[in-house]
């Protein structure tokens, strides 16, 4: 622990005073300008989506391009829904996501506890092996899993998508293990002295203290499950059971030339996640920081 002569804030203020030149403001202005251009570039596809979704067919193919459709053709959305069972797909997707999140949070927290808080022979080797599965591309296990699930008759059900979630996921168990290791051992010792079991420690100490980490796991696994395309594509065969992702791709195949309906359907698929993002922004960034800065 070294002794500082002047506090960081005073040094910072002095430095700022000396260097707030006109060049500083020009530099700042340039950064804002670049950000503004990039923001427009990134937002433009979204605007394109909405403007096409609200145009009539002749307006879509008009030359020169109509940028702001008038009047706003909201009927495109209701027309799209009559051919794109949005609410059905939404319900299916929510069901799958809910069970997946449940399984992910429960299984990975227990696994992480075992890896972080209990010493047992071979623990580190097992941990490394589990981490190794992160390197495995999904395509390697795709086919054998499919064959296995086909043999036990789980094809065209949601089970192949939900059940594996209850058996752990290397990424989330790694994240939770790191977090659990940061909780002081004394708290667990105190419970052991009072005669509590490992599960008591887990349930009464670790879980309440890990609410933010568990929330991050829940959020990320929800998003992964929601956006999952290959899983439902491979396992679900009946149209009424499709998720939003697969349903939209089918809609594309059937009504690909109806651009206004297609954009409307696409917008409908975007909306739930965007809404979720605005409610959970802080949790998102927190979660990425967990995985990013704990390297």
């Amino acid at each position: 622990m070294s002794v500082r002569v002047s506090s960081p804030s005073i040094t910072r203020a002095a430095a700022r005073g000396r260097h707030r030149t006109r060049g500083h403001y020009v530099g700042r202005g340039a950064i804002i300008a670049v950000l503004a251009v990039l923001t427009v570039a990134f937002a433009l596809p979204f605007y394109w989506l909405l403007s096409t979704a609200l145009k009539t067919s002749p307006q879509i193919f008009a030359v020169p391009i109509i940028w702001v459709p008038t009047p706003l053709q909201w009927s495109n959305f209701s027309n799209a829904i009559s051919f794109f069972p949005f609410w059905q797909y939404l319900f299916n997707t929510v069901v799958i996501c809910a069970f997946t999140v449940l399984g992910t949070v429960c299984s990975n927290s227990l696994i992480a506890y075992g890896l972080a808080r209990i010493d047992w022979p071979g623990r580190n080797l097992v941990f490394i092996l589990l981490l190794g599965t992160l390197l495995l591309p999904s395509q390697v296990t795709l086919i054998p899993l499919f064959i296995m699930f086909a043999h036990i008759g789980w094809v065209d059900t949601y089970l192949p998508l939900i059940v594996p979630a209850f058996f752990g996921n290397a990424f989330f168990m790694f994240l939770l293990r790191q977090f659990f290791m940061g909780i002081p051992r004394e708290l667990g010792e105190a419970v052991r002295i009072d005669g509590g079991s490992e599960f008591t420690i887990f349930w009464r100490i670790i879980v309440p203290l890990s609410k933010s980490a568990l929330a991050v796991v829940a959020l990320f696994s929800f998003i992964n499950s929601w956006n999952d395309f290959l899983g439902p594509l491979v396992y679900i065969r009946t149209q009424s059971k499709y998720t939003l992702a697969v349903g939209l791709s089918t809609f594309l195949g059937q009504y690909g030339s109806q651009w206004s309906w297609l954009m409307a359907a696409s917008a409908l698929v975007f909306i739930p996640i965007v809404i979720l993002f605005f409610f959970t922004q802080r949790l998102f960034i927190q979660g990425i920081t967990f995985t990013g800065s704990k390297e």
Binding site: P8, T11, R12, A15, H19, R28, L35, L38, T39, F42, A43, L44, P45, W48, L49, T52, I60, F61, I65, L135, L136, P137, S138, Q139, V140, T141, L142, I143, I147, I223, W226, N227, F229, L230, V234, L244, A245, V246, L248, S249, L252, W259, L262, M263, A265, S266, A267, V269, F270, I273, V274, F277, Q281, F284, I285, I288, T289, G292, S293, E295
Partner: protein, 201 residues
């Protein structure tokens, strides 16, 4: 700069980040329309500066660049990792450098980049592993592309398994993919060892 003015830039960050978390299928559908050769967004904008845009997804030469451009839309996910890294760079280093008379460029190259190097490596490895598994966009947007120009490895694997029912061949493809990814990851690690700086924090 990005780290110290977090509050004002939160709104900017949102628009960059959202495309990386929304359902990729919906993005794919949108970008099919964006790349439409006659009426799409990109060719319309190009026509304003007098360029006659190419056929994008319908053109075997331009289909892969189109997918690359679409991929750039999702950089927000990578950006957030870099943002987390920027916030971990010790501020004292900048102050010390400034007192010693370092210019902005020197501060960038000698302080920011070294402290950011682990994050560059993390993103590079993740990006490498993920791009070998590139499947959804080529599958949904072009089904393997005009003249197989977008038949990526993962797409071909899927076709072999679930369209041609050559499951054994597809499984072998999966293993080869694993080995290739492992080799590239190993090479990336080995070549980066000298250039990555793991700071005290």
């Amino acid at each position: 700069m990005k780290a110290s003015e977090r509050k004002e830039l939160t709104d900017f960050r949102t628009i960059f980040f959202i495309p990386s978390i929304v359902p990729l299928v919906a993005s794919a559908v949108l970008w099919i329309w964006v790349f439409n050769p006659q009426y799409g967004l990109i060719n319309t904008l190009l026509s304003y500066i007098g360029i006659s845009g190419p056929g994008w997804l319908d053109d075997p030469v331009w289909s892969k660049p189109a997918l690359i451009i679409m991929g750039l839309w999702s950089v927000g996910g990578w950006m957030v990792i870099f943002l987390a890294g920027l916030q971990n760079v010790p501020v004292e280093q900048y102050e010390a450098a400034q007192l010693d008379g370092a210019s902005s460029w020197q501060r960038l190259v000698h302080i920011t980049l070294p402290f950011m190097s682990p994050y560059f490596l993390f993103n590079a490895i993740n990006g490498l592993i993920l791009s070998f598994q590139f499947f959804l966009q080529p599958f949904v947007m072009t089904q393997g592309g005009p003249a197989e120009s977008t038949t990526m490895y993962a797409v071909y694997l899927y076709q072999n398994a679930f369209q041609y029912y050559r499951m054994g061949y597809a499984s072998a493809m999966g293993w080869i993919l694993f080995v290739v990814i492992a080799i590239f990851t190993f090479i990336l690690f080995k070549t980066s060892a000298r250039r990555v700086y793991y700071g005290g924090s």
